[in-house]
Amino acid sequence: MKMLLNKAGRSVPTHVNGQLEMPYAGVGAYIPQKNKAKPKVTTAASYPADGNKILPSLKDALIKAGIKDGVTISTHHHLRNGDLLTNYMFDIVHELGIKGVRWFPSASFPCHSHLIKYLEDGTIHHIEGSMNGPLGEFTSYGKMSGMGVLRSHGGRYQSVQDGEVHIDIAVIAAPTADPFGNANGLTGKAACGGLGFALADSEYADNVIVVTDNLVPFPCVPWQIQGNNVDSVVVIESLGDSSKIVSGTTEITKSPDRLLIAELVAKFIESAGILKDGFSFQAGAGGTALAFAMFLKERMKALNIKASFIRGGSTKYLVEMLEEGLTGYILDGQTFDLHGVRSMGVNPNHIMTSPFTSYNYHGKGNFASIIDAVVLGATEVDVNFNANVVSHSDGLLLHGIGGWQNCLFAKCSILAIPTFRDRIPVIVDEVTTLCAPGEMIDVIVTERGIAINPLRQDLLDAVKDKGLPIRDIRDIQKETDEICGGKPTKPTLDKEHVVAVVKWVDGTLLDSVYKVVK
């Protein structure tokens, strides 16, 4: 395998699964000189005049879509860990004897460990999306035939739009749909809120199959997915396990240490002058992020401050802020609990957004950089603020990138992280896998203090003498290493064997993930 060093000083392959790749060249350095990919022209003559695109089974739909060896099939992850459809679909692909499929999910979950047998028998060649949990472990031990490709949510859209990934068949789980293919995620047994992650797939794939377990008469409105883009509709018994799709209510962490971190993040945002009328922020559904939103809400109420908009992952807590008038809008990328699903259905100021319109670095509507502050996690951060979100210090791939890389373009990007997990220090000399260059990370908030990137002198000045525990990142690292009984041993990685690559938001190769030697 031919490797070269990219601008971040990381070794990356020249080719991935036979395709020539660009090495990372720096933030904003790669300017593509080409046109967007073009979906094929279709004709109304090919579709039933009565608008009924229903086929008897998913098998029929896949055959009609022209499934063959080596196709690319995309799925979305709005059903999260409750997704039964993807597993069912691959059971059919396997039954049809198809080999070498490129699976292109917007994310994978532990429920997809069902697919390991199809990775082993060659039904699936490799995954481009995220390799979470058991799939990540499978990939890390070098068991996947092809090379995995990890992209951010925005990067996934960029790759489709730029023609790097051509989707042959998009299989779209739709909690509610009509026979014409109009679909949304707002109602039905598998209600999940928005269907934004499937938007590019519906627009760019050669063949789009909408699968629902809640068929309604035409027109299904609002049509988050438009029948205009849909080839066929299939009705099945059940898309997924609703208890694992959205939680009834997302709960705030009870961990005192995480609460302490969340409280420090809120204090930082206030002290740095970011918390002011008309500001905007993003927080996800992780325990610490939710707790941060709760602390921030208290301060907003006390200071009579209203946000212009909040970027979600919506949850009960963000919905409450919308309903109490503490924010003008929720711009929602994915809906995490039933409160969010309900609110999106009834509140015109709770807007579904797609990563297509908000996160695509090669789009005109990337508004990640408009947001004042974003609070994220990470598996590792190094002393130069380079960060990792996909692998652990033992080298195992265990998470996807999600919207993480895209969110970092906010005016103030904050990683809320513990100093160690299970004895393993989070602040390291060098990250195992580079997912974002240090210049993108502004602040690290830990339970042992806050470290500000020296590039952000403005933030350092803003919080000076405000009583916050501002520390040098190396100082926090030193203390943590002492607590953990010294620095850990480096894991044994086979540097000759790249199992996956990490793409930057512009489609260039940022880093390689290597095979872990047991």
């Binding site: 005192p256 393993i424 339970e447 009984g485 850990p488």
Partner: protein
């Protein structure tokens, strides 16, 4: 000498965090064989094996089969679990001396602030590591009620090592020992490790305080220690209430008297209520006994961790009765407790006036302090100084409060 061949200690299972489990089979030959199942094998497996060999050498074990199940235990925990296991087989074996943290040399004083004390179950190391970050005035490593009878022995090793190796970031270092006589053995483990305060549970007499005081004195002598170690008796019975003053004045090392209401209400045949009418007498007696002995009176634990408003109300009531501190079982309770014990603006105003007048009198070399025509007694000055200290600690005034006060007066 060895009495058992199969020794075990620690915690195992998928839900365990920051802990480990040892099974040690002492053998006659074959050297040390370690079977390690560690959650952090890839990163700390090598260090752990080397460390276990060091622990064996320290305990003079040359031949053994050792099973080590690890869920990310830190060295002080590994050493405690190992030594607890080995102690089942050997009396008085060499106990490994773990690394001392920066905090190990911290000191305390009899009158320091004791607004909040955070109880930590003595056999749960995962709660120790970050406890000090939440900034309670004191942390209590508990060997008594939060430790099950079969875990008592291993908890002693763990608490001992925690006192040596965990940084509590300047919190007062307290240990609640077991009820006497079992608690006497606890002292041998914790006294050499710079413990600041010993909490003596279910205390009913001055003899018990003296017994503990004498034992502390002996252990300090043996280890040539000179740091003061204070005692905080916990009154938890009707008899204890009756003897409160004797207990409070039993030794110059008694720094505070506190009350345990769960046991007390059970002892008098009633149950704890929100209003606390049933314990009003007992609490008043404890406060009065403490104050007459010149020590602090500290209230019981507030056990509803979900209700912060009720906690605040409870602290305000305690403060109004004369208590200076409260026990807590969750770090989130600390800030509301400190806030409720903090002086009010009105109290700070009055205290500032008095302290400034006191300073001026001292400058003049006069022992008579007056504000206008009003004479100020020394105890009033003392209380005012305490209010200012509390206000400073709660960031209600800054170091330059005198200037600000004088400017405000002008």
């Amino acid at each position: 000498m060895s009495t058992h061949n199969n020794l075990s200690s620690g915690k195992r299972g998928t839900s365990v965090r920051s802990d480990c489990y040892f099974e040690i089979e002492l053998t006659a030959k074959g050297g040390i064989n370690i079977e390690s199942k560690s959650k952090v094998e890839a990163l700390y497996g090598k260090q752990n094996r080397e460390f276990i060999l060091k622990l064996c050498a320290n305990a003079k074990i040359k031949n053994a089969n050792i099973l080590f199940e690890d869920s990310g235990a830190l060295p002080f925990v590994i050493a405690a679990r190992f030594d607890a296991a080995v102690s089942e087989g050997f009396q008085n074996h060499n106990i490994f001396q773990t690394t001392q943290s920066e905090d190990f040399s911290s000191t305390t004083s009899k009158n320091r602030l004791r607004r909040s004390r955070l109880y930590l179950p003595g056999n749960e190391p995962k709660f120790f590591l970050n406890a000090g970050l939440h900034k309670p005035d004191g942390i209590i490593l508990d060997l008594e009620d939060s430790v099950s009878p079969q875990e008592k022995e291993q908890a002693r090793f763990l608490v001992k090592n925690a006192l040596r190796s965990v940084n509590f970031y300047g919190c007062e270092r307290m240990v609640r020992i077991n009820q006497l006589p079992m608690g006497i053995k606890d002292l041998q483990f914790v006294i050499p490790e710079n413990v600041h305060v010993i909490l003596l549970p279910k205390c009913e007499s001055d003899e018990q305080v003296k017994l503990v005081g004498d034992e502390i004195f002996e252990i300090k002598k043996l280890h040539r220690l000179s740091n003061p170690i204070y005692i905080m008796p916990i009154i938890e019975s009707a008899k204890g209430v009756e003897n409160a003053y004797k207990i409070a004045s039993a030794s110059p090392y008694v720094c505070a008297l506190t009350i345990g209401l769960e046991d007390y209400t059970a002892d008098i045949g009633t149950a704890r209520t929100q209003t606390g009418t049933e314990s009003f007498y007992a609490r008043s007696v404890v406060i009065n006994a403490a104050k007459s002995a010149g020590i602090q009176a500290i209230d019981s634990v507030f056990s509803d961790v979900a209700d912060m408003n009720a906690l605040t109300q409870s602290v305000l009531e305690a403060k109004s009765l004369g208590f200076e501190g409260k026990g807590c079982i969750h770090p989130r309770q600390i800030e509301p407790i400190h806030a409720a014990f903090a002086p009010t603006q009105d109290e700070i105003q009055k205290a500032s006036k008095i302290v400034v007048a006191f300073d001026e009198a001292q400058k003049r070399g006069s022992s008579v302090i007056s504000i206008g025509s009003k004479m100020i007694d020394p105890p009033v000055v003392k209380r005012a100084l305490r209010v200012i200290e509390l206000a400073l600690l709660n960031n209600l005034i800054d170091e330059n409060w005198r200037e600000n006060y004088e400017n405000a007066v002008k």
